[in-house]
Symmetry: C2
Subunit: 131 residues, 2 copies
Amino acid sequence: MWVEPIGRVCNAAEEKQDFEGLISEIEVFPEFAEGLYRIEDVPELLILFVFDRSTSYEMHVHPRGDLRNPEVGVFASRSPNRPNFIGVTQVELLRREGNVLTVKGLDALNGTPVIDIKPAVRRDLVDTSHK
Amino acid sequence: MWVEPIGRVCNAAEEKQDFEGLISEIEVFPEFAEGLYRIEDVPELLILFVFDRSTSYEMHVHPRGDLRNPEVGVFASRSPNRPNFIGVTQVELLRREGNVLTVKGLDALNGTPVIDIKPAVRRDLVDTSHK
């Protein structure tokens, strides 16, 4: 299946780092901006993005690239080097301005292609529909 | 980016239904089975899969296809009809037998292509590495 970016990450992370508390913007491309209608009502989002610096994968990894961590299979890890280069992170939505979301907790590098945005849990939708 | 299935869903859901409590098997293709090493240590997984019955999308949707629910943007919903046909669901791992995972809580139809499996939270990895 072919996957197309719907936006990209803008933040201060040019390389792998401690992402704790990092604020990022997600710029949704104008042709997809209508898909953000009423997203302000969703406090926690899942961001799907492409590990675009990955070039290959191995079946076993040391979590976080630390050789002191025992090897696990790639599917028991969140290594960016996986069969499909897709990352998923739950973030807090701080605000929306037009086609730009400001979020907290995204562990993706500056310029990362974003391929989807979803409510983190389906329960959010139920809450929204009764407001 | 091109995305390839690494497995498929086997369950009793032939059409959209109440998935609450449904038990599913995820058959990981033999060439990816090594990637499951030590996945038994991860109690909650994210399953990424393809909405392979979707053929198009609209920017605004009524959540759960119910016209009584106010319209929201597609990114404020979990509609299967989205720009990229990718679903993400958190499931409970009940057991692993070889290349087959038995999970609870997956809201995907029988035969759905699976494209990734990850620990639901990175905290799990820390726990695993200290066992």
